[in-house]
Symmetry: none
Subunit: 218 residues, 4 copies
DNA sequence: TATGAATGAGCGTTCATTCAT
DNA sequence: GATGAATGAACGCTCATTCAT
């Protein structure tokens, strides 16, 4: 069977969804390299072979999770935007920071999976599907930004679009450099308070600084 | 046999060094999961069995690389500090931004390897050695900061120490979220300029904003 | 469901024909074990499940190709015989050598597939269909021989029938032992001219010697 | 570990020998495609992984069997030649026919495995090792022929070397086209005596005709 | 009768790890 | 301490076969 690709990574296919969901759950429990296709199949309640009808390999599944997850995040923003009115830069910043909070609280894993991009995912995932997924996200961000600033003159759309990337970067970095005083959730003997990162607050704080610099630069 | 641990991760042992060096080279060429112990042994010019005298497993090697690499970065800073005098907050900021530039340009891989921490390294690396390495880094940062601000009143040492973490986080995030318009270094068809990250400039810019916020807050 | 067997190996059924044709094409391109039912189905333009309405498995398809192919060869001889008159042993030999030429030039694959008989086909093909196919060929040869020698006294029909087997054997052997100076059509560095077999000429020559020995033995 | 290749296909290595021996036994019992690496390993009394230290894959093992087996046959001939004296063409023919008898009786499987060359072995076996093995055989035949005809004037060495190939071809063909009245050693209902091949006698007879044609052509 | 998504047993192969030398 | 051949558990993945539509 052709690998399902009418909708990038079989996004709407219920079986592909079950598989992505199972893998998503597993990555919260088990190190990436210890997740086996067998385990994903069992968790998803499908046959092992079925996975390969939808995904090339394990990396492909996680690339799909990353892309569909972020896409979902964008679609939620779109829905919210349809119901509110952003009147000025202060409200825009406020709106974007609220999204950051949502992202860090509800999409942490999605953001973290991007850490595997360079060293794992990209080398093995389907490049076509990856491009499709990224392009879809790119277009969604574009729509979101257009809608968000439609009432605000004097805003550089390009900078706001770019801010979405920086938002992800900040979050991802904070997650990767947080908890350096633990290994596998086990605290070190020596207290190292300055090594600890409060991911939510510090991400929002840093992104806020960034937004100020592009929105309110003199 | 006891795994060599008098000096964390056999830091000074020439054989352990060759092994770390080989693995470091390989990660710039090959996806993490495709790096085998055999390949590392061959590249290092040692027998496969020898690796296991120094490291528990592959993750252990990369954890060691990450820690000894960053430790080396800190030691270089120490050396520099011994030769200069930092007189005020402006010079302090200047100094820290210069370090950021060094870090992003010469230690990219070291920073990137931290992306594997959560999903790969911590679960398999030797927790004792990891703790030792992190503690050593913690103490180095502590010394650096003390030395750096010794002439500047009115600086919160804790905040500067923490800034080192934020520096790493920013860099790591930028690296993970850069080049989203490529897969495996192959550019997408559709141009997506706002998705592109200039890692060096934007990291320094963002870290600069952060330093301003802690050094010059009203 | 009964596998279609009114006519051995669904010989006249257009779908079975398409399947055999697809497999025949594939064996000229791909090693036997690398030919999958999926590939055959795709090439044939039928669903994978459809194949199993006509053939038990891959071996069954190739057994069918071998038998229907050789049967077709025999039927062509029959047609030719209907239009000519063989008057003596010299003409008989001449006629048989012409058939050999046809066989080696147009039915090479059919002959070669017999190489798989022992180690692959017979163990998995449908024995009933195989017997049917072979019997049909046996009867065809019988008819051909009767027709061919009807004007020639003093010829042992049994020996001529047997010559058909020897003809196949010679051809098959020559094909299997030809080109030993190549692997996968790549010539060896060292020239080994005496290892090279000119399949057409040498097959005809050897078969000619054989026919002489049975037709003109003193 | 490098695949052992100092001596083509680890010919002298006792472990490689055990593996080839196990595979050789299995092919007399089980269809080629039903022979698994697991079964070979078990039969050989080695770990599955060990097989891959010596052979690339299953095809490689059988290519090795075919080549080392025939090489052994040649070496035996060499030994015999060292002890006898061939004085004329009649004795040469006699000698070659005796070798044919040995070949058909003791090396049937070796000859038969060549049937897999085209459709299985060559595509997957190690081409370097294959070339090495064939070259070694080529040189052995060359030596044998030189030694065999050293006392006989007026013999074309090239033709005698070529006769070794034809000998193999005849044998292989006879084996592949023998017993067409059986499937898996089960006799058909209808008796088809002319389809039956007496492999030993008919091979020797046909090769004898061939030798006459090259040795005693007028 | 044709289809093709789902299946899952079982394959070849890998590779971290061991341990006799 | 270094070696590297042997190991074998465990992996990803295949693909013939089924069967509901």
């Amino acid at each position: 069977m052709e690998i399902e690709n009418s909708n990038s990574y079989g996004r709407k296919n219920p079986r592909a969804l079950k598989i992505r969901k199972a893998a998503y759950e597993l990555i919260t429990e088990v190190p990436f390299e210890d997740i086996t296709m067998t385990a994903i199949a069992e968790r998803a309640g499908v046959a092992k072979g079925t996975i390969f009808n939808y995904f090339r390999n394990k990396e492909d599944i996680f690339m799909a999770i990353s892309l569909t997850g972020y896409q979902y995040f964008c679609e939620e923003i779109e829905k919210q935007l349809a119901e509110i009115e952003i009147k000025d830069k202060v409200e825009l910043k406020q709106f974007l920071l609220e999204q950051t909070q949502t992202l860090v609280q509800e999409y942490q894993i999605i953001i973290l999976i991007n850490s595997l991009r360079r060293f794992s995912l990209e080398a093995h995932a389907d490049p076509i599907q990856t491009e499709e997924g990224r392009t879809r996200i790119f277009l969604l961000i574009n729509n979101i930004v257009k809608e968000a600033v439609k009432n605000i003159p004097d805003v550089d759309l390009s900078e706001i679009r770019h801010a979405f990337i920086i938002q992800g970067a900040i979050l991802n970095g904070m997650l990767n450099f947080g908890n350096l005083d633990q290994v596998n959730n086990i605290q070190f003997n020596m207290a190292m308070p300055d090594m600890v990162v409060n991911v939510v607050d510090e991400s929002i704080n840093l992104f806020s600084l960034y937004l100020d610099s592009i929105l309110f630069k003199k």
